[in-house]
């Protein structure tokens, strides 16, 4: 890289470290849940790991749905300029 400074994130193994640390953090959040008494208006909020599962499923669903929407919605960049 012709003398340019190499950054920590430039190394592939460090990106992998970041990736697995997200897994570890998520695991920890599930582990401490039994120690905290969960309050909430709806019974669903008391299910174990509800917020985590909901966040994960919501995001995967969102991305897959958006990806499918591209087939219907996507047009060339100059679509409106032609």
């Amino acid at each position: 890289m012709n003398g340019e400074k190499r950054y920590w994130l430039d190394r592939k193994e460090n990106v992998t470290k970041v990736y697995w640390s997200v897994w570890v953090l998520c695991g920890l959040l599930l582990l401490i849940e039994p120690a905290i008494e969960m309050h909430g208006e709806f019974s669903i909020e008391h299910w174990f790991g509800f917020y985590g599962v909901f966040g994960f499923v919501a995001c995967v669903g969102l991305v897959l749905a958006a990806k499918a929407l591209r087939r219907i919605l996507m047009r060339p960049e100059d679509y409106y300029d032609r």
Binding site: G52, F54, F56, L62, L64, A66, R75, Y80
Partner: protein, 563 residues
């Protein structure tokens, strides 16, 4: 008439002097105006001021209560921060437009009657379009025109509604309006256009990304939040708003995921955040209205911060397309850091501003038992983290290294971003000052173990979803494209219908042309026959024959006289 006047006039009338000043004096003056406005607001006691009679109705230029003051404060703060961000712009036209725009937004918030509201409502539209056109590109010009037409229409609906309202109730007072009469319906749609309700929203994603670097930051702060204020004032507790707001939070995030222009991604997420505020207005309890006001306050700051950071990228790199960016954290580490603060705030991470304000709305939704709405808001919360919290910083500053190297953002931009970021964190860490400004007394503690854990789970598992999708290559790559939205109705279908109509008209003209030609030719021929060079009526007669005829006529007269 009292000495107090509409607070926005400090900015509107103050802008007159801007072109007369030069260099540092102008910069200092620009910075002083919003601070003077803020000081005036702090001093201003509650009450109605600047009242005068107009055609037998009392107009109120400044109604000062807790709700209008809160929006007044944040508008002045946003004007000051954005002025710092825009200090490198030397174009007096843009500076004056920005002052008139922010000033009229402030004045609209303090309007105590619908006529005053209408005047400043339209003034925000007219002045803000300058910030779009100042970009100077053909696309900006066209987007600006569409923006202007739609916003003027919103004002016309407001005016019509106000007149119907006046006819029905005999009053122009801007209080609770409700959806009971036709006047209320018209005003509701007028407000809804400015608030970017679903299907009325396209002006936002259309125009904001086409404005100048600084113009988009100005635009993001005022127009839509003025509409939120107006809805909170006129339609609190209108249940329809719950459904409208829930739809607003959900559908823009699908677009945000596949959009390439990162400032357009932010426009979609702006739309999504407005949805939370609209739900709060629809629920209409003290807690939810507090939530709307608080969320508007923190939203203006973190949204401005995100637009500032993307503006800095556009300023330095010349593009904010996700396809062309990546690895910019090496060149612009400060901008990247501030962007992440904005991203954490909009995602409502604990210790950032969104956490303490959005929680009020979500809690109010749950307390009133709106389960489906609550689920939609939760989905939208995860989604906003996904596209604003992760996608924006990731594709701009990290992802694959685009190889682009540039200078860090200019000093004035960095200062503006630093101050805004400090406010985002400040509100998140210590929300009490914001809570004490809210319209109703607050009895709410955001930092409970349940709330923090729930929010962290929601966000980190969303981050996990993003990481997994990225790592497995399922995540849709950024692509150069236009994604069809509802504006296709007028930009695509509407244009095609107009083109077809023009085409049909010209075909009809061609088909009729032969017959018309024959008809007109025969007309011309008749004209030519009588009046042409050979025509009887165009002949030049000698003077002698003229005299002869006159003589004959006179003789005939003489004969007639004697007979």
């Amino acid at each position: 008439m009292t000495a107090e006047f509409s607070p926005g006039l400090i900015l509107i009338l103050g802008s007159i002097l801007v072109p007369l000043l030069r260099g540092r004096a102008r910069s200092a003056y620009l910075l002083a105006l919003p601070l003077a406005g803020l000081a005036y607001l702090v001093w201003l006691p509650y009450g109605n001021y600047g009242t005068f009679a107009f055609l037998g109705h009392e107009l109120v230029m400044a109604r000062v209560d807790r709700l209008s003051l809160l929006f007044g404060y944040i508008f002045m703060i946003a004007a000051w921060l954005t002025t710092i961000y825009a200090l490198h712009v030397k174009d007096a036209a843009q500076q004056v437009a920005a002052l008139v725009y922010s000033g009229s937004a402030v004045s609209a918030v303090f309007a105590g009657d619908l006529l005053t509201l209408f005047v400043f409502w339209e003034l925000t539209a007219i002045s803000s379009v300058v910030l779009i056109w100042a970009r100077g590109a053909e696309r900006s010009y066209r987007a600006g025109l569409r923006y202007l037409i739609i916003h003027l229409a919103s004002g016309v609906l407001l005016m019509l509604g106000a007149l119907v309202q006046l006819n029905e109730t005999g009053s122009l007072v801007f209080g609770h309006i409700g959806l009971d009469g036709p006047g209320g319906m018209l005003i509701f749609i007028g407000f809804g256009i400015k608030c970017a309700f679903p299907l009325l929203h396209n002006w936002l994603q259309d125009a904001y990304p086409e404005a100048t670097v600084t113009g988009t930051v100005w635009l993001s702060a005022f127009t839509t939040k003025l509409a939120v204020y107006a809805l909170a004032r006129g339609f609190a507790g209108t249940e329809e708003l719950i459904w409208i707001g829930a739809a607003m939070t959900a559908f823009p995030i699908f677009y945000a995921v596949i959009e390439n222009d990162l400032r357009r991604v932010l426009s979609y997420s702006l739309n999504n955040q407005l949805g939370f505020m609209v739900v709060g207005i629809g629920i209409g309890t003290e807690l939810s209205l507090n939530g709307t006001a608080a969320h508007a306050f923190s939203h203006i700051l973190y949204k401005a911060l995100l637009f500032m950071s993307m503006g800095a990228v556009l300023h330095r790199v010349g593009t904010v397309n996700g396809t062309d960016l990546g690895g910019l954290y090496k060149s612009m580490p400060w901008t990247a850091g501030f962007c992440i603060v904005g991203a954490a705030s909009i995602s409502a991470f604990p210790l950032f501003s969104g956490f303490v304000s959005k929680a009020l709305i979500l809690t109010a939704t749950a307390e009133q038992g709106y389960f489906v709405t609550w689920l939609v808001l939760l989905f939208a919360s995860a989604g906003v983290f996904h596209h604003s919290g992760i996608k924006i910083p990731y594709f701009a500053f990290f992802a694959h290294d685009s190889g682009k190297r540039c200078a860090e953002a200019p000093a004035n931009m960095l200062v503006a971003m630093a101050l805004t970021a400090a406010l985002c964190i400040g509100i998140g860490v210590y929300p009490q000052p914001l809570y004490s400004l809210l319209p109703y007394p607050v009895n709410y503690e955001p930092y409970t173990a349940t709330h923090v854990l729930a929010q962290l789970q929601l966000l980190l598992f969303s981050a996990l979803a993003f990481s997994v999708l990225m790592r497995t290559g399922i995540y849709p790559p950024e692509m150069r494209s236009v994604n069809l939205d509802f504006d296709w109705i007028y930009r695509g279908l509407g244009r095609r219908v107009a083109d077809a109509a023009l085409d049909a008209a010209s075909r009809a003209r061609i088909a009729l042309a032969g017959r018309l030609m024959a008809l007109s030719m025969s007309g011309w021929r008749a004209l030519y026959h009588h009046h042409g060079p050979e025509g009887l009526l165009a002949r030049t007669w000698p003077t002698g024959s003229m005299a002869l005829w006159v003589m004959i006529l006179l003789l005939a007269y003489l004969v007639a006289y004697y007979v």
